[in-house]
């Protein structure tokens, strides 16, 4: 065997490799399915299986919110604690009160350890987090964010991840721009999500006082909600109600009292307490009929710019 033969063989093999690669590469895209179009490392590594982990990391954020005091798989109370984080966020958002107002009730609900079953159980509790505390104050809520970001990366279609993260970012950490960017990222992945549109609308109104864009987003949320409700036997009226409340509030605060009344009338159809809404309508009606005080002009109706955001 001459000394040049191995080099020639190597050259031949490399040429065959290269030729086969050019022939196989376009075909392999079809074999690999959606994984071939993966644009992130997580998608390449885990494929669609990554969604299984997304829920775990969302729960992890909840565990962090409780400073590590969280039921394990074996603890009976696990089901009661599921989605607590989003529950707290929604509760606080809808009522405007601190979560501590229901602290005692919440504390009892979370006593999932119960009494020690034996001496070993009693002893081991000295090495575990056994005190139920929430991450609150001093911006400590930020600690839940990495897990929410990871959950969103693993499953971009889990809408709760975006709304919960945005809630904590804007309401507790003062990071409105980051909250908006994250919600928009969520909206790109879920263009028909009324929850994300609603949160974006709230953010634009409550933080930027941008009535026109907020109104457009809230109306888009309402349309999405109606589209979804059309396909359901028992549509969720609660969320539709929340959108309408927000829209009515926005119209009232911008001086569009007639529009606010119209929204409240829509709200009456879905509200469990229509008589309360009726009182609000009557109050607004009185204000609408009363002459405006001098030096305090009503907000111009031109604030409304349909279609500027969506």
């Amino acid at each position: 065997m001459s000394a040049r033969l191995p080099i020639l063989l190597l050259g031949l093999l490399l040429t065959i490799d290269f030729s086969l690669a050019t022939w196989l590469q376009p075909r392999s895209l079809g074999w690999r399915g959606r994984r071939a179009q993966a644009d992130t490392m997580l998608k390449v590594l885990l494929g669609d299986g990554r969604r299984m982990f997304a829920n775990h990391f969302f729960t992890k954020a909840d565990a962090y919110f409780h400073s590590g005091y969280y039921p394990s798989l074996f603890d009976q109370a696990r089901l009661q604690c599921e989605n607590h984080l989003s529950g707290a966020a929604e509760e606080q958002a809808s009522k405007g009160g601190p979560p501590d107002s229901k602290h005692d009730e919440h504390e009892a609900e979370h006593d999932f350890f119960g009494k020690p079953k034996d001496w070993l159980d009693r002893f081991s509790r000295a090495f575990r987090v056994t005190e139920h505390t929430h991450l609150s104050g001093g911006g400590r809520e930020r600690e839940i964010l990495p897990w929410l970001k990871l959950a969103a990366a693993l499953d971009p279609h889990q809408v709760d991840t975006y709304t919960v993260a945005a809630y904590w970012l804007r309401s507790k950490l003062g990071k409105v721009a980051e909250a908006e960017a994250f919600l928009r990222e969520g909206l790109r992945a879920n263009p028909d999500s009324e929850e994300i549109l609603f949160e974006l609308g709230r953010l634009l109104w409550e933080n930027h006082r941008d009535a026109a864009r907020a109104r457009n987003l809230l109306e888009a949320a309402l349309r999405c909600s109606e589209r979804r409700a059309a396909g359901l036997a028992e549509p969720d009226k609660t969320f539709r109600g929340r959108i309408l409340v927000q829209l009515a509030r926005l119209e009232e605060q911008t001086g569009n009292l007639a529009a606010a009344i119209a929204r409240l009338r829509q709200l009456q159809e879905v509200s469990p307490t229509p008589e309360v809404i009726q009182r609000q309508i009557a109050e607004l009606q009185q204000r609408l009929e009363a002459p405006p005080p001098s030096g305090h002009p009503a907000a111009p109706p031109s604030m409304r710019q349909p279609g500027s955001d969506r």
């Binding site: 400073s67 590590g68 394990s72 081991s124 000295a126 090495f127 930020r142 964010l145 950490l173 990071k175």
Partner: protein, 259 residues
């Protein structure tokens, strides 16, 4: 005692000559620093996720170092036949075992000190305060837990034919205890008799390694474990370590060393 320490010194040297520790420490450091560089909503003060990942890597690395180092000690001595000249000296089999155990435990302890020093620097610089007491407790309890694991691996190396089989079984046992060991009592209470009593007996028989895992306390800035409880946990680990070492000695003194 000098003979035991001399034997332990050999194991100690083996650890720093081998690449296991350096590779694992490098991986831990690189992964932690990479995660630290991730931009999370333009907030540089998010730290708990970093502590969690760093501690997880430390636990995995320390477990790998402890089990792999221990599992190959006696089989390597037998394979290279160095066990014969060693036992031809005035050294008993019990002293060989004690030396191997002390060497592996000491070497793992040294590795833990380096790992936790790195952890303390990363979390301290990021958080702005130094939780040295809690870090020391976490280190101490993990080291105590590793004593049980090392004694268990040493016993396994006498019962099982190959270091790989021993390592695999040790990892499965330790992983199983860490994940479900503490919940066996809950499971037992939901089972009918006699399964309930059997599971409860297993619950009390196994070494509860999960007790020594205080990572959550460290991550979530919880108060320190009482020093009395720390002492009791150390005693608990010492009893299991002694039990496994005694069993290993009992097996070793009856074991024929010729192939």
């Amino acid at each position: 005692m000098n003979k035991v320490l001399a034997l332990a010194g050999v194991v100690f040297k083996e650890l720093y000559r081998r690449k296991d520790f350096y590779v694992l420490f490098f991986l831990t450091a690189v992964l932690t620093l990479l995660l630290a560089s991730v931009n999370l909503f333009n907030d540089q003060r998010v730290v708990r996720y970093l502590k969690e990942v760093c501690l997880l890597l430390i636990w995995v690395s320390a477990l790998v170092i402890a089990v792999v180092t221990t599992a190959r000690q006696l089989p390597a001595e037998r394979e290279s036949r160095t066990i014969f000249p060693l036992l031809a000296k005035p050294v008993t089999r019990g002293q060989v075992l004690a030396g191997k155990f002390l060497g592996c435990w000491g070497a793992t302890g040294l590795a833990l000190v380096v790992f936790y020093a790195f952890f303390a620097v990363v979390s301290g610089t990021r958080e702005g305060h130094w939780a040295l007491g809690a870090t020391f407790q976490a280190l101490w309890l993990q080291w105590a837990m590793l004593a049980v694991v090392i004694a268990m691996a040493l016993l396994g190396s006498l019962l099982l034919s190959a270091p790989s089989a021993n390592s695999t079984i040790c990892f499965i046992l330790v992983g199983g205890i860490l994940l479900v060991g503490g919940h066996l009592n809950t499971v037992a209470l939901q089972q009918p008799e006699p399964l309930s009593s059997l599971i409860y007996a297993l619950y009390f028989a196994i070494p509860h390694l999960e007790i020594f895992d205080v990572r959550d306390l460290l991550i979530h800035d919880q108060p320190l474990v009482g020093w009395g409880n720390c002492l009791l946990a150390t005693l608990y680990a010492a009893v299991y370590t002694a039990t496994f070492l005694l069993m290993a000695w009992w097996v070793f003194r009856r074991k024929p060393l010729s192939a």
